[in-house]
Amino acid sequence: MNQEVKAQGSAGASSFRQARYDEPLLWEIRPHNTAKLEEAPNIPPALQRKDPLRLPELTELEVARHFTRLSQMVFSIETNFYPLGSCTMKYNPRIGEVLARNPKATDMHPGQPDETAQGTLEMLYELEKALGKITGLPNISLQIAAGAHGEFVALLLTRAYFHDLGENRTEVLLPDTAHGTNPASAALAGFTTKEIPSKGGCVDLKALSEAISPQTAAFMLTNPNTAGLFEEEVLEIADRVHGSGAILYYDGANMNAILGKTNPGKMGFDVAHLNLHKTFATPHGGGGPGAGALCAGERLKDYLPVPRITKEGRRYRWSYDFPKSIGKVKTAYGNVGIDLRAYAFILAHGEEGLVRVTERSVLNSNYLGKKLGKRLPRPFKELVKHEFLLAGTPLKERGLKTLDLAKRLLDEGVHAPTIYFPHLVDEALMIEPPESESKRDVDAFYDAFIRALDDKDENIRDAPRNLSRSRVDEVLAAKEPRLSWRDLKGA
């Protein structure tokens, strides 16, 4: 019987099954009311809503069942191994959820007097201090919504800095392995961008030197980079960049790999952003909210957003008295509810724990990289940091793509790695097994990967079969965009 099931392919090879509901849209559960609305007081007639909001009136049970069913059709860290490269999908400690829901944290309006928010201000101040030590760049703004927001703000600081110096620097350089947000953020801040080709997966120092000009405002670098490699020439890179007067920017998406080993300050960076939702384990929430921090050294610190926390004696307050500041970049003070979770994570680990975070994530990555490297080519050197790349090139001989393998992996009940990034690697798979994953789970992922790879071509091409949906037609979605209930209904 087992044999027979196996022969049917991927659906049989793994016992994993995701829930599968044909869950209606809210609007399909029951029709919405259509009766015209009565007039509301205090509103001029021309501004009165006339037609009722088109949304059905549902019972609470209907709402509960709808969203609970939907939740069962989601891969998450607590249900599935999630080795998404550059995303650092580590365990999100439960205690963070409990602490952040304390009414003394949630029932706080940003407009209330500083004297009534001393606890939160102290927490933010201490978090800033800790992040300053971790990055070696001690001037911090937590008014950052996410990583890309931090990049954008750092480039605004860079702009303001060169404006003050009276220098017209219009170009931002970045390696061809950079996260897509880097060039997009640079463009948003009004810079042109130029990509520096890599050599062996790392920055080609010669190509960088040739590209640097008096117009260069900044060089944006992730270290370890998106190939998982540590840029060993980082100090030379810093020298070249600084030699031209430009700013060296650190994209902190991969900070999990270096805690306590080195830091952006030591490596010569002028400014860095951190993704608190990666390294410091705050939940990703299906895409957000995240939280960022921007950490600046001497050159850019005066330009950080206001307000900034100052401490006078034992009192904390928000200060707006930073004349060179670029002003505000977000409502209020940042994602304080997320900052609290990150603070709890740092407290829990302390010195010893954070170093261990890095050591184990790098060990997991090298271990899994070594094992999987026996089956698929690894494009660059073997020693990696917290993530590694595989090239899915051999799949092409079977008429398959990396995408097919990724879908087949889902059938095993594990999330697929990041795929087709960075672009310089053919059919790339980027794998990050964070420190919270045990050897047992890393080995289980390896086994799942091998089962997927060794499955029959047609099964791989046909995957997934064990999920709530089979292969989703993304081309159709883009060709005929239907983006709402209205679009589906033709209403």
């Binding site: 809210l26 205090n42 001029p44 088109r54 009136e57 549902l58 709402v63 969203f67 069962q72 891969f75 607590e78 304390n102 003394k104 407009g111 939160t120 919504a145 990583g147 927001h149 897509g180 947000t181 060039p183 997009a184 640079a186 948003l188 042109t192 100090l235 306590g260 080993k261 384990a281 990703h284 929430g285 957000g288 707006y320 500041s325 002003g327 977000k330 409502t331 209020a332 994602n335 304080v336 509810g337 709890a344 010195e351 010893e352 724990g353 184990r360 790098v362 020693l383 879908k407 999330h415 050897k439 046909d462 949906r469 089979s470 292969r471 989703v472 883009a478 709402s484 209930w485 679009d487």
Partner: protein
């Protein structure tokens, strides 16, 4: 130490697979000169120690519940139905990533598709994205989007726009080199000068921003007839979602882009974040929309399915040519928004909006008789927030004195930066929250009267 890291006892077997003897060897590629010896943090803590420490910190806070609070201005203390937390605390939702693999993420995707649909219904627009960081950055993204839809160098915003939003807008406009032009308001009513808008919109202008209600809490009566007066210049409206339960949706009077702050629907204040940026536009603008967008499609078996779509706009494909650098959206807060609205339903949303508006008008009535205050300062219609004028003393000093009396009476509207130009009046924005009742309104009026008489 809490057990969030995998056990060290497995290290040996893994190192042996790698043929090395210590983890330290994995860091030999970091140049010596860049190595650090210590971070300088303390010893690890157990979970109960973390809880104790965070509770010690938070005990130094005095939450809104300790006061009679009248703080609002876009971020609101509202009752959130128990269902909201029940759903967003499901770890399937909160510990997932952006739904890159649609087959594995239908629940997140369908929820976001419904969220888009809901924002479209509230605004009567045609297309919405799957959320942005917050209302102010959504405004910034709307400015950038307008610049892609229409030629021009200037962008009009109300002079009454809250200074924080102006500052965020200025930063989003920096890269474009756009000029932000302020639309004056009429002193007694607070109504924007619509003739000014019509005149200036014709001069090299790529967009006009208005708020609904505005930063002074007012309803701008010229809005329903504004679009014909500015022609094809994009009209950007920042709308409060709860107010849209009562107000004619901006899509019905010509808005091209509608943004908003969604925090009041199911998300706690948490001292200002995380929040929720809302954004919708006309179909013609869809390829210029920033951020994640979810679309409906089919799977290989013909079943309805959802997926992230129109990704050729986005940074991971287009890099420097992308419509935005946004990678993170605020999915979980968007789901909270959706669950909140769905649990209340249209009649519940309307009930909440009417009740808050009614309380705010009762408050205005109660403050009317207070000597030394002018409430409301402007004569235009309002819903839940209004400006109180303060005579004879600084508004900031009055608010501080009221806080000592247990009343958080409102938010200062002035830009607190030392070099900033002050507003032409002494006043503050007052609002109501879900705890406001007859007693707290009476206390506010009495304490304000006592404070002003003592002055």
């Amino acid at each position: 130490m809490v057990r969030w890291i995998s056990p060290q006892e497995d290290d040996a077997a893994m190192l042996s697979e790698l043929g090395i003897s210590s983890v330290e060897e994995l860091f030999r590629d970091i140049p010596k000169k860049a190595r650090m010896k210590k971070i300088g943090l303390g010893a690890p803590l157990e979970e109960e120690e973390i809880a104790t420490e965070v509770e010690r910190l938070l005990s130094r806070n005095r939450p809104l519940a300790d006061f009679d609070s009248f703080l609002g201005g876009g971020l609101y203390s509202r009752y959130s139905n128990a269902m909201v937390d029940g759903i967003i605390q499901r770890s399937e939702f909160y510990t997932a990533y952006t739904p890159y693999q649609p087959e594995a993420s239908q629940g997140t995707l369908q929820s976001l598709f419904e969220f888009q649909s809901l924002w479209i219904e509230l605004t009567n627009m045609e297309v919405a994205n799957a959320s942005l960081y917050d209302g102010a950055t959504a405004m910034g993204e709307a400015l950038l989007m307008a610049s892609r839809l229409h030629e021009g160098r200037r962008f009009l915003v109300p002079a009454s726009l809250f200074w924080e939003r102006k500052s965020v807008l200025a930063n989003y406009a920096r890269g474009l080199g756009a000029e932000i032009v302020e639309i004056p308001w009429l002193p007694s009513t607070g109504q924007l000068d619509a003739d000014f808008i019509e005149r200036e919109a014709k001069k090299d202008c790529f967009g006009v921003l208005v708020e609904y209600p505005d930063s002074f809490g007012l309803l701008q009566e010229s809005l329903p007839s504004l679009k014909p007066r500015i022609g094809n210049v994009p009209l950007v409206v920042s709308a409060d979602p709860l107010s849209l339960a009562l107000l004619e949706p901006p899509g019905s009077w010509g808005a091209d882009i509608v943004v908003g702050e969604g925090q009041g629907f199911g998300a706690p204040l948490s001292y200002g974040g995380p929040l929720l940026g809302l954004m919708a536009c006309r179909r013609a603008g869809v390829r210029q929309l920033p951020g994640r967008v979810v679309g409906a499609t089919k799977d290989r078996d013909g079943r309805r399915a959802f997926t992230l779509t129109l990704q050729t706009r986005e940074q991971h494909i287009r890099r420097s040519k992308a419509t935005s650098n946004v990678c993170t959206n605020n999915s979980l807060v968007a789901i909270a928004f959706l669950v909140y609205a769905t649990t209340l339903g249209p009649s519940g949303l309307r009930r909440v909006a009417l009740s808050l508006s009614e309380k705010a008008h009762r408050l205005a009535e109660a403050l009317k008789g207070v000597k030394g205050l002018r409430a409301p300062l402007f004569s235009s219609p309002f819903l839940t927030d209004f400006v109180v004028g303060v005579e004879g003393v600084k508004a900031g000093d009055f608010l501080a004195a009221m806080a000592k009396r247990g009343i958080l009476a409102g938010t200062l509207l002035d830009d607190p930066r030392p070099a900033a130009k002050p507003l032409p009046f002494q006043g503050y924005l007052t609002s109501v929250d879900w705890r406001t009742d007859d007693k707290s309104i009476a206390r506010y009026a009495k304490e304000a009267a006592d404070e002003r008489e003592g002055a």
